[in-house]
């Protein structure tokens, strides 16, 4: 099986300080991989490096065998930034239609994506008038337009209603079942159990890379929050 994403000895320096230190990891297709860690630990930078919008200082990141950021990958990656990157002064429909035209996908796909994020009833509303959660779902819908083989989602569930959050995680798993590599970050440790695989991150380092069950067994803890604390404590001694 070829990996979706393969990073080897990845270093990233931003503004003179190193924010990612020597990371080596894989993100596999057909599973949902969670990237968990506190705010500011480097999750977004790591995701940006995979998508190819972050310049890397050393090491390599390859996606489906191509260097991250290469032109051939642009139509195969769906990326959702933390702040919704959509046009506030257009309706949901107009936003999706525009990005669909850029990607060269048809109207049917626009409809499918609106349904996928459960915004069908709101589709003719101007994005600027939507709630924060609805806005981030519009941004997610845009990322799914091109039926990407790699979906990179930076904190997609922040501030969402629990029912909707559960539905979105089901969507992520459906995407993985259809063959995509799904890479989701969160600073909420509770969400760990929803992932097939977990990467815990702290201060620019990956401190664990395991299945949720494997992580709990290895640390002898009851939840991921406790496992995280345990790993930090062990590293300190």
């Amino acid at each position: 099986m070829t990996a979706g994403v393969e990073a080897v000895a990845l270093h990233v320096v931003r503004g003179g300080t190193e924010v990612l230190h020597d990371l080596t990891f894989e993100v596999a297709p057909r599973v949902v991989t969670g990237l968990l860690g506190p705010s500011g630990c480097g999750k977004s930078t790591l995701m940006r490096a995979i998508v190819g919008v972050q310049r890397i200082s050393s090491g390599t990141v390859t996606v489906f065998g191509e260097p991250a950021g290469s032109a051939a990958l642009r139509s195969r990656i769906g990326y959702v930034t933390q702040a919704p990157s959509v046009y506030d002064d257009l309706t949901i429909e107009e936003n999706l239609a525009f990005f669909a035209a850029v990607l060269g996908v048809d109207r049917a796909r626009v409809d499918a994506c609106v349904h996928l994020v459960d915004l069908h009833g709101e589709r003719s509303k101007v994005v600027g008038r939507l709630s924060g959660g609805q806005r981030s779902r519009v941004s997610l819908a845009v990322a799914l337009l091109g039926e990407p083989a790699l979906v990179v989602l930076d904190e997609p569930t922040v501030g969402l209603d629990p029912v909707l959050r559960r539905d979105l995680w089901q969507t992520f798993h459906r995407l993985a079942d259809d063959g995509a590599a799904v890479f989701v970050s969160s600073h909420v440790m509770d969400e760990a159990t929803r992932c097939d695989r977990l990467m815990l991150m702290r201060d620019g380092r990956i401190i664990a890379d395991d299945t949720p069950r494997g992580l709990l067994e290895r640390t002898g803890t009851a939840d991921v929050e406790a496992a995280f604390l345990d790993l930090v404590a062990r590293a300190a001694t």
Binding site: G52, G69, T81, Y87, L90, V102, G104, V126
Partner: protein, 244 residues
């Protein structure tokens, strides 16, 4: 370069503008009001007045307005993350730039057409040369404003900074374009400076069309077009797919 994508960008920008009724109304009405104000100012002094200044103003207005509109719009696109998203998609930089240039060029064409036609029919401006050349110069001029606005937006982090580029980049060009002191009469250093600023050529072209039945504008217009292309290339350099 793909026409499908360029056109998508153009349509989107126009759609955004259509949503913003107030901006659209201001874009179309204010140039007409300014021309009327200029005409009114010289009501009692017809000898020096409106006829000699109006062509220069018809060149200045689209340039200034499009400079501001584009620098703020593209800054918004940079800060909202939509630019980064587009550049992570199969979007060529040229598609993006041309899409914008086309949309604002179109708006500028309508804007200038209204101001020019009002000046000629209602305010009695005498244009010796063909009116379509006057319009063409105005549109090229507006695209120049757009291209420069797009370029400078890369150096602004906030909209406050972006509008400060207006006095920095635009006002010196207005002062040196021959409107206040004929370019030949400027001190030598300023005359050279005026020779390298694109707005000088736009104003020269406008003035020539208004005075001459067969104006020799293609040289001046060529310089402005070259500056547009130069500014677009510089603008393209500021669209980076990767950041540090």
């Amino acid at each position: 370069m793909r026409p499908r994508i360029t056109l998508a960008v153009t349509l989107r920008v126009l759609l955004q503008l259509r949503r913003d009724h107030r901006t659209l109304a201001m874009l179309l009405v204010i140039p007409c009001l300014i021309m009327t104000l200029l005409w009114w100012m010289f009501q009692d002094r017809p000898a020096i007045g409106f006829g000699s200044l109006a062509p220069a103003l018809l060149a200045l207005i689209p340039f200034i307005v499009m400079f501001l509109v584009t620098s703020v719009t593209t800054l918004r696109e940079r800060t909202s993350g939509t630019l980064e998203r587009l550049l992570a998609m199969p979007m060529g930089k040229v598609d993006f730039l041309l899409g914008y240039a086309l949309a604002f060029g179109l708006v500028a064409a309508v804007q200038s057409a209204l101001a020019v036609l009002l000046s000629i029919w209602a305010l009695g401006l005498d244009v010796a040369g063909p009116v379509w050349i006057l319009l063409l110069v105005a549109v090229v001029d507006a695209v120049l404003g757009s291209a420069l606005g797009l370029f400078v937006s890369a150096f602004a982090r906030t909209e406050f900074q972006a509008v400060q580029f207006m006095p920095t980049v635009v006002i010196p060009q207005i002062l040196l374009c021959g409107l206040f002191v004929a370019r030949d009469d400027l001190p030598p250093v300023l005359e050279v400076l005026s020779d390298v600023l694109p707005l000088s050529y736009a104003v020269d072209a406008m003035t020539a069309v208004s005075r001459d039945a067969h104006p020799a504008v293609w040289g001046d217009l060529g310089v402005v077009v070259a500056c547009v292309l130069g500014a677009l290339v510089l603008g393209a350099l500021t669209l980076r797919r990767q950041s540090d």
